[in-house]
């Protein structure tokens, strides 16, 4: 395994990759800034179903040092781009139960447009680019790696991704 010292630490003083439950409530509690009029928190949580199958739990695996480095780079870039007061992200690894948080992103900016846009940008890049993988364990006892990023089928390049657009109403 590559020693984590090969990668510079993340900008924020948070643990990017966590083997223990994410304390999103504590993170929110601390995420305030006198210049920030808008705080946006995203929590990606484990659903009890996916593509028609009943999910028992998920298991996430990561390349810790590389994921930490990439998440730090993404946060630094977003902070600069949108002039954020706060930008942090944590991703859980290991077994994650239904309703638990697998990933959390918090952004804070003077006005709300920036906090929303940056938050979405950060989670989209983490989900598509960071070396973090999901294995779904189903209630029927089977499991499957995947539902992974499939952008390459469109872009023709494993390093080129297509990010989310705002959802239109149903």
């Amino acid at each position: 395994m590559i020693p984590s010292s090969s990668f510079p630490p993340v900008a924020e003083d948070n643990q990017a990759i966590s083997p223990t439950p994410l304390d999103i409530v504590a993170l929110l509690k601390d995420a305030h800034h006198p210049g920030a009029g808008a705080i946006v928190l995203f929590s990606g949580e484990v659903r009890d179903n996916n593509r028609g199958r009943e999910v028992a739990y998920l298991e996430y695996e990561s390349h810790g040092p590389l994921a930490t480095k990439m998440m730090g780079d993404i946060l630094r870039e977003a902070k600069e781009k949108w002039k954020l007061h706060i930008a942090l992200a944590q991703h859980r690894v290991g077994k994650v139960a239904i309703g638990e948080s697998a990933v959390v992103v918090i952004t804070a900016s003077a006005h709300r447009s920036e906090a929303y846009a940056a938050n979405r940008y950060i989670i989209d890049r983490i989900k598509h680019e960071a070396p973090i993988w999901k294995c779904e364990y189903y209630t029927d006892g089977t499991h499957e790696w995947g539902n992974n990023c499939n952008c390459q089928a469109v872009t023709g390049d494993a390093a080129k991704h297509i990010y989310g657009e705002p959802a239109q109403p149903h």
Binding site: I2, F7, E61, H63, H128, I132, W145, G146, C149, N150
Partner: protein, 77 residues
């Protein structure tokens, strides 16, 4: 050369193994990997490669004592 694989790739290869052959770049590495498991062709096409401090492409000159990380697509969704 040491090879570390992750996630779905572990259904094709052992998580960590060594290759004794002289391998100069990722194209040659893919050929070696397919010699071990010929069914890994499709998934290897979607993978990225990394050495220590970042991702590499086929231009990167691999050395005998490198540890190569093979990275399948991220969790996405």
């Amino acid at each position: 050369m040491k090879i570390h694989v992750y996630a779905a790739l572990k259904e094709y290869f052992t998580p960590e193994f060594e290759l004794a052959e002289p391998i100069r770049n990722t194209d040659e590495l893919k050929i070696c990997l397919l010699a071990i498991n010929a069914t890994a062709g499709d998934i290897l096409k979607t993978c990225r490669f990394a050495v220590e401090d970042g991702f590499i492409d086929n231009e990167f000159k691999l050395k005998e004592h490198d540890t190569v990380i093979i990275i399948p697509p991220s969790s996405g969704g």
